[in-house]
Symmetry: C2
Subunit: 241 residues, 2 copies
């Protein structure tokens, strides 16, 4: 909205001072300056756009967010996002893909740093649930909610890319859920249990309020208590692993 504020943000990033019209004509070659000598923050601007878009898409929805809103949020003018993305839909897809890659990375990292034995399925599930809540509700968590609630607005081809990433994400859960089912701690068909469980977790973006009392650990405890039954009597879950 405020052009000077937007421009000052840009100015803080760029090395040269605010250009005079003459200086601009001299120093700025026309056409697309693909690579400058000191290779500035080319990819950074793209990520800024994605981040701002994620926040706005989550807050207002994809259709209700204009590309002008997004441009203004990063101090660009209305047409400039199309220098980085060929369409509004491509930007939405980039938000989702960035979200899934980040979620996958965080999940892998959580598993690695915990170094739990494969046999301890309940502890593994707890870790996955806690990480999932972090991805959904933690700081900077706009990407995955956008993916979950705006998937209607992407093309089939774009969705295929995300589906693959989602499958990778869920693939980590599957053996854990299978082990729990064998131990009698997860009841019912595993496939339906998984869908219902993810629903319970994903829906939390609708009601969770970080300013209220419950923490993400509280949510994790509640989810585990709800889903995971006591192990079958007289059988060690270790023996089933």
């Amino acid at each position: 909205m405020d052009k000077s504020a937007a421009r000052s943000r840009t100015a803080a990033r760029a090395t040269p001072p605010l250009k005079t019209p003459v200086a601009a004509a001299e120093k700025r070659p026309r056409g697309r300056p693909r690579k400058t000598l000191d290779e500035r923050d080319d990819g950074n601007r793209r990520l800024e756009l994605i981040t701002a878009a994620a926040r706005l898409f989550r807050k207002k929805g994809f259709d209700a967010t204009s590309t002008r809103d997004i441009a203004a949020a990063v101090g660009m003018h209305s047409g400039s996002p199309f220098y980085h993305f060929k369409s509004k839909g491509a930007l939405l897809h980039a938000v989702m893909e960035e979200g899934m890659r980040s979620a996958l990375q965080r999940q892998a990292q959580a598993l690695q740093s915990a170094a739990l034995p494969d046999g301890d399925a309940p502890a593994l599930l707890r870790l996955l649930v806690r990480n999932h809540f972090g991805v959904l509700l933690g700081p900077g968590s706009d990407f995955i909610p956008v993916m979950l609630y705006e998937s209607r607005s992407i093309t089939a081809r774009q969705r295929a890319v995300l589906t693959k990433l989602q499958n990778d994400y869920e693939a980590v859960w599957e053996p854990v859920l299978e082990a729990l089912a064998r131990a009698g701690q997860l009841k019912g068909p595993v496939k339906l249990a998984r869908l219902l469980m993810f629903g319970a977790l994903n829906w939390s973006v609708q009601w969770f309020d970080a300013k209220k009392s419950a923490t993400l650990d509280d949510l994790t405890d509640a989810a585990m208590a709800l889903f995971i039954h006591a192990p079958a009597q007289g059988k060690s879950s270790k023996a089933l692993a």
Copy 2:
């Protein structure tokens, strides 16, 4: 899209044949014909609009559905929905309110016709879950999904109306969940358990495919198996009721 098709639908409803310009000028009084002698389907048109809007809002989303889409779906012209609703947002709210009133009615009816004893909390929950799946996924179930996924687009005042209806809806569940918690069959804080459970159910609109194998009864079985634990050993749940 096809004007003649849309009009033929209208013609089938109205008694007189397709008007000639002259006949229209003679037979149709100008201004708003509030009540005709044989009082046609005045309120019916309103409901038709709501139903068509629900279908389109669910399929494409509120923002991506134009009032022209809705008008065309019921054989009206572009400005005519505003004769029945003062704004697009009012139409959205009407869809949601109609959905909640219908859901409440179905829930009350299900409980009444089953005539279960108050002590049988698991059976009561099963009934509520099954009815909820029917409301979400059964025939003509566009209203509640729209309410669940488009609430961002209504005003605070409109939301207050729905919140009251939602509270009435959930109020029926609460004593059932409390009884199950006392019996040790529902684990964790009841409030969080309720939120997680509704999430698991509500999320099913994202993945349930009526053309595939699972039925709503299958879903109900899976949900009950997942959420409801075996009663505590040596204690009769009857004694706790």
